[in-house]
């Protein structure tokens, strides 16, 4: 890539030392913007040519000083999916960190001195003024200041405290190859935000007349949580800003790059990503359900509606130019999901079950089984509770899926399934099997699948492993695959969605 936005950025930073923050010449700004858009694309956001041009025009009209609006305007031109907002925000914070509130020219150089002088966070605990940033302030004072600032929601004060805390506790060293989360952890550990929250709570109780007020407690605690979360973000921002000064914009953006929610791999999702996925599922299924419903309605015309046709012909002078049809009422399919919930693929199974049940309205009936080496029908959990997430939790904790040793045994599970339920599969049933087909070298019993396929309308297999790993080691997906109508790689929400919307005839 010939364009080096880090270099441009450095040039620009120098400019801003001479000018008040927020005033940038348009030429420079456009350069940063190009680096910014480039990084957005690298993070997976689809930014088209038109949108890029729109953004370039947009920044002419809005000054950077009004940061909120500036950010909103950039987002309005570049980000057209709400779930991409977090990714946008991260990139924005990196590329436009220079102009974030609380930064002025000389503070940058001062804080880099602090970094070098800052002693190890753990040992610095008791010495007043030993921490570099904010000399003469003891850690106790800092904690007190923090609490006051939090109670008053004094953003400027909070930002200063965040800067002080980072200088003092994070122990940042230039060039050290650790991520921002490490520094964040060190800073937060020293700040003891839980303790602060507790103190804020007892303060709030003392201040009001009736100390025994559960509602006021609850509201106060919600309020404090939000304030503390905001403060944590400020600390994070401060650390990020210093890392950028150390490593440059591009490198920083690369480290912070995270997959978009729809690209997060089920099998390797972190806890935070899990929550993201959780949130992404609901709108996705809603959209998908609408699409399926529409397709079903349009696929076939109903019978000729004679009355309607004649009535309509009156407007053409009695000639039945336009035949009218009754609305079709196609039957909805029945779905059976059989999911492996052993350790490695558990989260995949959970999401897919959640996905299928969120769309249950599109099917006449949904039944589900989970297995490891034993198999158990879990339809009842979903019927009993009206929260899907709750049902999925109960599946995890209550389903009876261990037969011998708790290692996946697809063969045995399929065999039991066939004995109990084969007769219930009809030509209206679509069967979906979820799993990586890692069978621990047990017998495959693939013939069961052959029978299922003959009896059912369709038989699909969704595998959360990358295609390259299939049929290696104890994976026997190929043995099963020959009896399926389709075997699909299903590593993330995007692939799951593609499967449902394209392969899945309703």
């Amino acid at each position: 890539m010939a364009f080096n936005s880090a270099k441009v950025f450095n040039v620009m930073s120098r400019n801003t030392f001479e000018m008040p923050p927020g005033v940038v010449t348009t030429g420079n700004l456009l350069d940063v913007l190009q680096g910014f858009v480039h990084e957005l694309r690298a993070a997976g956001l689809p930014v088209s040519m038109t949108e890029n041009l729109d953004a370039m025009r947009a920044v002419e009209y809005i000054s950077m000083e009004d940061r909120e609006s500036f950010k909103a305007v950039l987002a309005a031109t570049l980000v057209k999916h709400h779930q991409h907002w977090p990714a946008f925000e991260t990139v924005f914070e990196v590329y436009f960190a220079r102009w974030s509130p609380g930064v002025d020219g000389d503070e940058g150089s001062e804080s880099s001195n602090d970094d070098r002088e800052a002693p190890e966070g753990g040992g610095a605990g008791k010495q007043p003024g030993g921490g570099g940033g904010g000399e003469g302030v003891s850690n106790e004072d800092l904690a007190k200041m923090l609490m006051q600032a939090l109670m008053k929601s004094d953003d400027e004060m909070l930002r200063n405290i965040a800067a002080m805390a980072v200088s003092r506790f994070a122990g940042m060293e230039p060039g050290r190859p650790v991520g921002g989360t490490y520094y964040l952890y060190r800073t937060l550990r020293q700040l003891d935000l839980d303790g602060v929250a507790e103190k804020m709570m007892s303060n709030a109780r003392e201040e009001r007349d009736a100390p025994d007020d559960s509602l006021a407690d609850r509201l106060a605690s919600d309020d404090h949580k939000i304030k503390i979360k905001k403060f944590k973000e400020m600390v994070e921002e401060e650390i990020r800003r210093r890392l950028i000064a150390d490593r440059g914009v591009e490198a920083m953006a690369r480290t912070l790059r995270k997959p978009l929610p729809e690209d997060v791999e089920f099998m390797h999702a972190s806890r935070e990503e899990m929550l993201q996925l959780q949130r992404a599922i609901e709108p996705l299924t809603r959209a998908l359900a609408a699409r399926l419903a529409q397709r079903r309605k349009r696929r076939r015309r109903g019978q000729l509606d004679f009355r309607k046709t004649v009535r309509h012909s009156l407007s053409y002078g009695g000639v039945p130019l336009e035949p009218k049809f009754r609305n079709p009422r196609p039957s909805k399919p029945e779905i059976m999901v059989i999911a492996d919930i052993s350790g490695s693929v558990a989260s995949f199974a959970r999401f897919t079950l959640q996905f299928v049940y969120a769309m249950a309205g599109q099917f006449s009936k949904v039944r589900s089984w989970v297995f490891i080496d034993g198999i158990d029908e879990v339809t009842r959990f979903f019927e009993e509770s009206d929260e899907i997430t709750e049902a999925v939790q109960r599946v995890n904790s209550e389903a009876d899926v261990i037969w011998v040793d708790g290692h996946s045994d697809y063969g045995h599970a399929f065999e039991i399934f066939a004995q109990r339920h084969m007769r219930e599969i009809t030509k209206k049933t679509t069967v979906i099997i979820l799993g990586d087909a890692r069978n621990n070298y047990h017998a495959t019993q693939a013939t069961v699948l052959k029978e299922i396929r003959e009896r059912s309308r369709k038989l699909f297999w969704l595998n959360p492993e990358p295609r390259g790993y299939w049929n290696t080691g104890d994976s026997v997906v190929g043995d099963y695959g020959i009896y399926c109508d389709g075997v699909f790689e299903c590593r993330n929400l995007r692939q799951l969605e593609t499967f449902v919307s394209s392969s899945f005839e309703v």
């Binding site: 689809p46 088209s48 038109t50 949108e51 729109d54 025009r57 947009a58 009209y61 809005i62 009004d66 909120e68 609006s69 500036f70 909103a72 305007v73 987002a75 309005a76 031109t77 980000v79 057209k80 709400h82 907002w85 507790e198 709570m201 007892s202 109780r205 003392e206 100390p211 025994d212 007020d213 559960s214 509602l215 407690d217 609850r218 509201l219 919600d222 309020d223 939000i226 709108p283 809603r286 959209a287 609408a290 699409r291 529409q294 407007s315 002078g317 009206d386 929260e387 997430t389």
Partner: protein, 298 residues
């Protein structure tokens, strides 16, 4: 370039004058839409004031609001224009005695007076300033969406018999979507995107105070705090802004000056519409909430 607004602050102020409290996000995008002459696609949960925004913008720019409500099965004939074929038929029949050649008849019946104007064409041909609101655009089929593209990018409509009709002025165009389906990339590319979320505490309190002027500050604060806590719960349908306002009004009618768990429990049905949500909220912050435990408790 249209110049309806001087600056972002100008947008905020003028919106506030008609009781619509915009945040930096909303004001910034509206300002930009005016400058770039691009339509705005507004997304967000139900009841956060998407349609209200269009109405407020129409009000502050002294424009007429033309609204196209979308629904499944909306077609060209209902969205853009239609030939009044009944009238055309009458015309042909009335003409029967005079022998006239087809060309004359054709040019006659495909003329202005047989054209039925629908919202989009109406907005394009309007002489006075208008704000065009295309409401719930996610309800139309993907194919119908394509109809909108020409209007959105060039603000013109092609009618085969009459030629292309181009707008006399560029109105502000707003589309709203409840996100029941993913809109096409082509549509999104032509629009600025604005996601409106539930307001933060300060903004919601201000909204309550503006919309329910009789309320006192302490109660408004409490109302918005409780609503915020309820929204944080894992519920099916979080309370919208309009529901917050309804709740504040209800509290006033019932003569409550303070909120306690009993009051919340008695009036929760104003905020929440699902029984399971109500039960959950009762358990968390209503009368069924557990007694608080914590330090310094007598």
């Amino acid at each position: 370039m249209a110049m309806r607004f001087k600056s972002v602050a100008d947008v905020t102020e003028r919106l506030a004058a008609v009781d619509y409290l915009a945040d930096a996000n909303i004001a910034g995008v509206i300002y930009l839409a005016d400058r770039l002459e691009k339509p705005v696609l507004i997304e967000g949960p139900a009841g956060v004031g998407k349609t209200e925004l269009a109405k407020a913008v129409a009000l502050i720019t002294d424009s007429r609001l033309i609204r196209l409500q979308c629904y499944e099965g909306l077609d060209e004939g209902k969205a853009i224009y239609e030939w009044n074929y009944k009238k055309q038929l009458l015309r042909i029949q009335a003409d029967r005695e005079h022998e006239r050649d087809w060309e004359t008849v054709e040019s006659d019946i495909f003329s202005e007076q047989f054209l039925l104007e629908r919202p989009l064409l109406e907005a394009i041909r309007s002489e006075e300033p208008v704000v065009l609101l295309i409401d719930e655009v996610d309800r139309v089929e993907v194919e119908t969406e394509a109809l909108l593209l020409e209007v959105l990018s060039d603000f013109q409509v092609s009618i085969p018999e009459l030629g292309t009709v181009t707008g006399k002025q560029r109105p502000i165009v707003m589309l709203t979507s409840n996100n029941t389906r993913e809109l096409s990339e082509a549509l999104k590319r032509r629009c600025l995107f604005l996601h409106i979320d539930y307001p933060d505490l300060d903004r919601e309190r201000e909204i309550v105070r503006v919309r329910v002027p009789e309320i006192d500050d302490a109660l408004a604060e409490q109302v918005s705090q409780v609503v915020r806590s309820i929204r944080a719960l894992d519920i099916k349908k979080a309370p919208s802004i309009s529901e917050t306002i309804d709740w504040a009004r209800t509290l006033l009618y019932l003569g409550h000056t303070q909120i306690d768990p009993q009051v919340i429990t008695d009036t929760l049905h104003v905020l929440l519409k699902y029984q399971s949500d109500i039960m959950k909220a009762r358990k968390e912050i209503g009368v069924d909430s557990p007694l608080p435990i914590g330090p310094k408790r007598s």
